[in-house]
């Protein structure tokens, strides 16, 4: 049974190897069969394991952690413990949730890509990377120690780079890939330091040992070391999950093909940070100050990104900022101590956000590559399936009741106010953000699918609904976007929390005991729900008014508040600021100091060419002795003889 877990990981790896090495010779059908087959097998195994778990609520201990082989073992010396990192996989309810979500979404996206990438070059390469990504992501979520998790972490980063820069001949795409990798690297530094500090403090990096030791610590005491560890780990999450200030790579990552945006930058890779924080809940529970940082950054990011999304005209970019914003929500959930809410939102978000991206891809496909929403409009007649699936996802993300997003978002908002580390300002800002979310999402919907068609002439007659290869996954995702909220019926708001109780239970209790929350009781849960519903309703109404009823108004508002509008459209100039502060100085240093100064001057000039030049001059001098003139030879012999004679007679 313990091998079933491994079996979830292996097929994508094999698929990636097969397509990567041999794929060039396969035709498209074979490539997609291998890749989708691998993803499908993984999904089946994950679902099998999930089903088995429902019948065996307490898994045997060697399923919880099973070590397959010793990967790294360094015997300790001079006071340091042994460093042991095995290839060991960890299985609990959290892993179950993650593996099921990841494999289902990945499988659907693999199916969608068959249609989407059919006319692009590099078909086999795309699927090889996609499978490799799936393997890495599964490694990340099933790893039993931080080292193996980091392998998966880096692996998904690599695949993200490869896939964002998939159209590597296009400069903006390869630049975006580099940007993603470098920016997440900054976070990875924090992650690595966190792991090192963890090992230095506790002598191990595997979850069971570390969590066991940390649980033994007295409650409520926020040790400085533990806070440092948690903050460093969170820094890794900030990079990977695109929070303030390391979010800048995600909008640029839209250069990649749309399935990539859906899989990596909506459903899975960017949620790795949230997963990591949730997995480390034991550590974070003993470091409340770190948790406060998590929730603060999450909330600020959510609001910040939502304000930018309001003014974006590129459909995918708007969705990218929306992802950043929703990830912020997940961190708020974890940060106020309701980890289950964060994971719940992760799960529902995976479904509706990937659906949004895939639908956007369908729109792009139908409009021959157009993504500017100002050149869309009225598409719901020409692309009905895409439209209603997009509508379902938009309703879900806006927190409209009965859809999954409502349940998960509501849990987070309730937690922001009533949770152990909840604070009122978190709740109000998050609710405002929810209103903004509803607004910009419906703005997107209306601009793209409703109203009058602003599509360019030559594109207009090509507009077509996408093939069933692409629309079928859309429909499945739409179904999931609705029902995912009902896990654990009949308590939709509580269901997942109950399921994840074994994972988060102790942390929850700890946090509740330590800090009961500032505003408990001031506003009941019903009132909170009312506010968030009102925010969503206002957002939707505003979008309807501004983009359907009186579409000339946004233009007038933009003209009137030109400064603010420019600020938002130009994304607060953050990219420009980073460029000025970090990128340009590094370029100048690289160019002037390191390249011209050091490489050209010192190494090439002095060491290589200089030595050669010096050798030549000395050689030139010595060359004159070889004049070919016998008489001078004779003279030199004489001189040498005299010198030696003198030495022998007078010096010795």
């Amino acid at each position: 049974m313990e091998y079933l877990l491994l079996l979830i990981l292996i097929p994508p790896l094999l698929g990636a190897a097969a397509n990567g090495i041999l794929g060039r010779r396969f035709n498209q059908a074979t490539v997609s069969a291998i890749a989708c087959g691998a993803a499908g097998v993984s999904m089946v195994f994950a679902l099998l394991l999930a089903t088995w778990t429902f019948f065996h609520p307490t898994p045997p201990s060697d399923l919880v952690v099973h070590s397959y082989f010793t990967w790294i073992f360094v015997p300790g010396a001079a006071g340091l413990a042994d460093f042991r990192a095995d290839f060991a996989l960890y299985y609990d309810h959290l892993t179950l949730v993650m593996t099921v979500t990841v494999t289902v979404v990945a499988f659907l996206i693999h199916l969608y890509s068959r249609g989407y990438m059919a006319h692009e070059g590099g078909y086999y390469r795309f699927f090889a990377y996609l499978n490799l990504f799936l393997f890495m992501m599964l490694t990340l979520v099933t790893a039993a120690n931080y080292a193996l998790m980091f392998v998966g972490w880096e692996g998904v980063g690599l695949c993200s780079y490869l896939l964002i820069g998939f159209y590597f001949l296009k400069k903006s795409a390869s630049d975006a890939g580099k940007k993603a990798f470098v920016v997440t690297r900054i976070g990875d530094v924090g992650f690595t330091l966190g792991i090192a500090l963890l090992f230095w403090t506790f002598g191990a990096v595997d979850f069971q040992t570390v969590f066991g030791k940390v649980s033994g610590l007295p409650a409520g005491e926020s040790g400085d070391v533990l806070t440092a560890i948690c903050l460093l780990l969170f820094l890794g999450a900030v990079g990977k999950s695109a929070q303030l200030p390391l979010y800048v790579w995600l909008p640029d990552a839209m250069e990649g093909p749309t399935p990539v945006s859906a899989l990596i930058h909506a459903a899975t890779m960017v949620t790795a940070g949230v997963y990591m924080v949730a997995r480390s809940n034991v550590l974070f529970a003993h470091a409340p100050r770190a948790l406060e940082t998590v929730s603060t950054i999450g909330c600020l990011t959510a609001f910040f990104a939502a304000t930018i999304a309001v003014c974006q005209n590129d459909l995918k970019r708007m969705l990218a900022y929306s992802t950043i914003s929703q990830l912020g929500y997940m961190f708020v959930g974890c940060g106020v101590g309701i980890f289950a809410a964060g994971i719940f939102h992760l799960m529902t978000h995976a479904f509706f956000k990937s659906l949004l991206f895939l639908a956007a891809g369908s729109v792009m496909h139908g409009l021959s590559g157009e993504l500017d929403m100002r050149k869309m409009g009225g598409l719901r007649h020409k692309m009905p399936t895409t439209h209603w699936t997009f509508l379902v996802a938009t309703l879900a993300i806006s927190g409209v009741p009965l859809l999954s997003g409502f349940f998960s978002k509501d849990q987070i908002l309730a937690g922001a106010f009533l949770g152990p580390l909840g604070k009122p300002w978190l709740y109000w800002l998050a609710t405002l953000t929810a209103g903004l979310t509803a607004f910009y999402m419906f703005r997107g919907l209306f601009m793209t699918f409703w109203g009058e068609s602003r599509v360019e002439e030559q594109v207009k007659h090509h507009v077509h609904e996408s093939s069933s290869k692409m629309t079928t996954p859309l429909m499945w995702l739409a179904a999931f976007s609705v029902i995912a909220g009902y896990v654990g019926w009949p308590h939709p708001l509580e269901g997942l929390s109950h399921f994840l109780e074994p994972v988060f239970g102790k942390s929850d209790a700890l946090l509740r005991a330590a800090s009961p929350g500032e505003a408990s009781g001031a506003l009941g849960e019903k009132a909170l729900m009312g506010f968030s519903l009102a925010a969503a309703a206002i957002g939707i109404a505003l979008a309807w008014w501004l983009y359907l009823k009186s579409p000339e108004i946004p233009g007038r508002i933009a003209a009137k508040f030109r400064g603010v509008y420019q600020l938002l459209v130009r994304k607060y100039y953050v990219d420009e600021i980073y460029d000025a502060i970090f990128v340009q100085p590094i370029r100048v240093i690289s160019d002037k100091v390191l390249w011209q100064g050091l490489d050209d001057g010192a190494i090439d000039g002095v060491m290589v060419n200089g030595t050669a030049g010096e050798t030549m001059s000395v050689g030139g001098l010595l060359r004159r002795i070889q004049s070919g003139n016998l008489r001078s030879y004779a003279a030199w012999v004489l001189l040498g003889a005299v010198a030696w004679l003198g030495y022998v007679l007078f010096v010795r």
Partner: protein, 100 residues
């Protein structure tokens, strides 16, 4: 009896003359003659010491030197003739194909 110092002085003078001629003269045959001069100067020194010490070793050495000088002269002159046939010149400055 001629004092040893006179013999050695003459020997030294002859030797230095030989060196000077070797370095400063241009004609190849003249240079050869100077080489012979140097060898004979050394012979003289040997004889002088042999007489002074009353031993025959020095005289024996002279024989060796004479033999070697003769052989060397023969070979050297043969080389000079070969060189002359190729280069039409007896000036040592013209023998510079090993230049650089």
């Amino acid at each position: 009896m001629v004092p040893l110092s006179h013999v050695l002085a003459l020997s030294m003078i002859l030797f230095v003359l030989g060196i000077a001629g070797f370095i400063f003269r241009r004609n190849v045959i003249t240079i050869f003659m100077c080489i012979e001069l140097m060898l004979n100067a050394v012979n003289l020194a040997f004889i002088g010491f042999a007489r002074q010490l009353g031993q025959l070793d020095g005289q024996l050495y002279v024989f060796f030197v004479i033999v070697v000088a003769a052989a060397e002269a023969a070979v050297g002159l043969a080389i000079i003739i070969a060189l002359y046939r190729n280069r039409e010149s007896l000036s040592i400055d013209d023998l510079d194909s090993m230049r650089n």
